[in-house]
């Protein structure tokens, strides 16, 4: 938990995708993922189409492929689970190399891997090309209730506070000769979690008072929103529209 991990997925850049307004990217992401998830598992060509769209966007975004792929590793636990499906699934069996596996499970595994990976890829691309304050501004522009956006902004501020207190607690424990040996060694863990909460809260309270002293009145001053032009909407929604067309074709054919 390094201090800056709230921006762990962000890749600084000035590509056309970085420059698109966050609100447009959020709507575009939702459209793309909806299309992917609504595609029947059997339509392999449609999934190749989505992969091409994602790859074109990745190239446009100038985010290095290696950076993208390592961030996509969040998907790995699901892939491990998906690989189990052919073996635990029910129904008729098919031969796959030396194993007889469940046909339904095999399809389920493919379905889960393809959809989860493509959707996570699209989300990683959003996070890589959009700064957190811009995501928050985009959400509030999309009429997400102000209370939710305010809680989210405080959460992101306080993540660093919690991480900092956590680091200091660890150092203090190590300095007194404590070495965590087991996951079942719950008592120090539980007690320090409680202490961590109190310490973070009291620091957080001071941060809040400092904000009040500097004129915070419950509103975030993000500056005037530049209006989103029609061509920006079109550019941002284009991948989603193409994906939706592919999805409709795959359902009709």
């Amino acid at each position: 938990m390094s201090g800056g991990h709230a921006h762990a997925l962000h890749f600084h850049g000035h590509s056309p995708i970085h420059r698109l307004p966050a609100a447009v990217k959020l709507v575009g992401l939702l459209a793309f993922v909806l299309a992917v998830v609504a595609t029947p598992a059997g339509a392999v060509w449609a999934f190749s189409g989505y992969t091409v769209i994602l790859m074109v966007l990745l190239v446009l975004s100038e985010v290095p492929a290696r950076f993208f792929l390592t961030r996509l590793a969040i998907d790995l636990p699901f892939i491990a689970f998906a690989l189990l499906l052919p073996f635990v699934g029910e129904g008729p069996r098919v031969e796959l190399g030396p194993f007889a596996v469940s046909a339904a499970g095999l399809l389920g595994a493919w379905n889960l891997i393809a959809k989860a990976t493509l959707s996570a890829g699209a989300s990683v691309l959003l996070a890589a090309t959009t700064e957190v304050p811009d995501i928050l501004a985009g959400l509030s522009r999309l009429r997400v209730p102000a209370v939710l956006v305010a809680i989210a902004s405080f959460m992101i501020r306080y993540l660093e506070v919690v991480a900092g207190e956590f680091r200091r607690t660890r150092i203090a424990m190590a300095a007194r000769g404590y070495k965590p040996r087991s996951a079942l060694d719950w008592k120090p863990v539980a007690v320090s979690a409680g202490a961590l909460f109190i310490r973070s809260f009291e620091r957080g309270e001071r941060v809040y008072q400092a904000m009040l002293a500097r004129g915070y009145d419950g509103n975030w001053r993000t500056g005037a929103h530049e209006p989103i032009t029609r061509s920006q909407w079109l550019a941002g929604l284009l991948p989603g529209i193409v994906a939706a067309t592919i999805m409709l074709a795959s359902r009709l054919l």
Binding site: M155, R157, E205
Partner: protein, 323 residues
């Protein structure tokens, strides 16, 4: 516990989205009435804490991934409505910033991890507090039970969604066993952490614990004793097993229900009732008691196996750490 995209079909995810949005709307309305400006930063801090706690993440065999949830902690500190909002924010930001949990599946995840945990946790906490004498040890017990129950309720909510629109191809029975079994164990950890965190706040800043704001508690600065936590772990295991005995027969009805839908569309309504447990009486009358015993046995074995698996994993972790 974060459901990825593609695991549950779009129709079910959309349905869950509608439920989640109306739940959040209701929460917003309820908090709007008595929200002081100081509470929003506190909600943000609670959200940040839960965010950190949820990063202790490990995969679960036939479900998605398992970790502490934190919904009942948020509810006890902030009240059920603001608590649900705080955890919902965590789920949103995880999906947008870390690609953890799907985008279309947001409704499912908000429902399971924010609304169900906060409301169930709050309900259990308040009911237990009503029964027990008003001492701070009672707050510990109530928090433990609230934490444990909320996690199991959350996993049940997922199994319910899987029964309606699961696309994995894994049999419902094994999804049920893995999810509820593993989450009964996670629930023990969740209960301990919830109780300790609430205890710590109660000892230093009792004014910040919404769940006891209207109860006159004598001030007492204690974390739960070793004895009470040991009793809780034993009790938790017993409850996990008891849950399997009570709930597994209900789940065994569900695949039957789904199969029946496939054969005869006329039965859709009755099939949807099964996971809720309504027609249990009908089932025992129609005489599939053998099947139920089988399911109970399987469930008990499931919980036992996950407990052993957890112990083995912990031992391996310990070896690796000390090496």
């Amino acid at each position: 516990m974060h459901v990825p995209d593609g695991f549950i079909n779009v129709a079910t995810a959309a349905g869950a989205g509608v439920v989640a949005v109306s739940g959040l709307g209701a929460s917003l309305r309820r908090t709007g009435r008595d929200l002081s400006e100081r509470q929003i930063p506190f909600a943000g801090l609670t959200a940040a804490f839960i965010f950190a706690v949820q990063m202790l993440n490990f995969p679960v065999a036939a479900g998605t991934s398992g970790h502490l949830l934190g919904g009942s902690l948020a509810a006890i500190l902030l009240g059920p409505w603001l608590g649900a909002l705080a955890v919902a924010v965590v789920v949103f930001m995880q999906a947008l910033m870390f690609a953890d949990g799907g985008i279309v599946a947001l409704g499912l995840n908000v429902l399971n991890m924010a609304l169900v945990t906060a409301l169930v946790g709050w309900g259990v906490f308040r009911s237990v507090m009503r029964v027990l004498p008003r001492r701070s040890s009672a707050v510990m017990i109530a928090s433990m039970l609230a934490g444990a129950t909320s996690v199991v309720a959350s996993s049940l909510s997922f199994v319910f969604q899987y029964a309606i629109g699961g696309e994995g191809g894994a049999p419902l029975q094994s999804v049920f066993q893995a999810m509820v079994g593993v989450h009964s164990l996670i629930g023990i950890g969740e209960g301990v952490i919830t109780a300790v965190a609430v205890g710590a706040v109660l000892a230093v800043r009792p004014d910040l614990v919404k769940g006891v704001s209207d109860l006159q508690l004598p001030r007492l600065a204690t974390a739960p004793s070793r004895k009470s936590i040991l009793a809780f772990v034993t009790g938790g295991l017993a409850i996990a097993l008891a849950l399997v005995f009570l709930v597994a027969p209900l789940a065994s009805g569900a695949p039957d229900g789904l199969e029946r839908v496939a054969i005869d569309n006329g039965f859709i309504e009755s099939a949807q009732e099964h996971p809720l447990g309504g027609p249990l009486a009908d089932y025992s009358v129609s005489g599939i008691e053998n099947e139920q015993t089988g399911a109970v046995l399987a469930g008990a074995i499931g919980v036992g196996a996950t407990f052993v698996a957890g112990l083995i994993a912990a031992t391996i972790l310990r070896r690796r750490r000390s090496a």
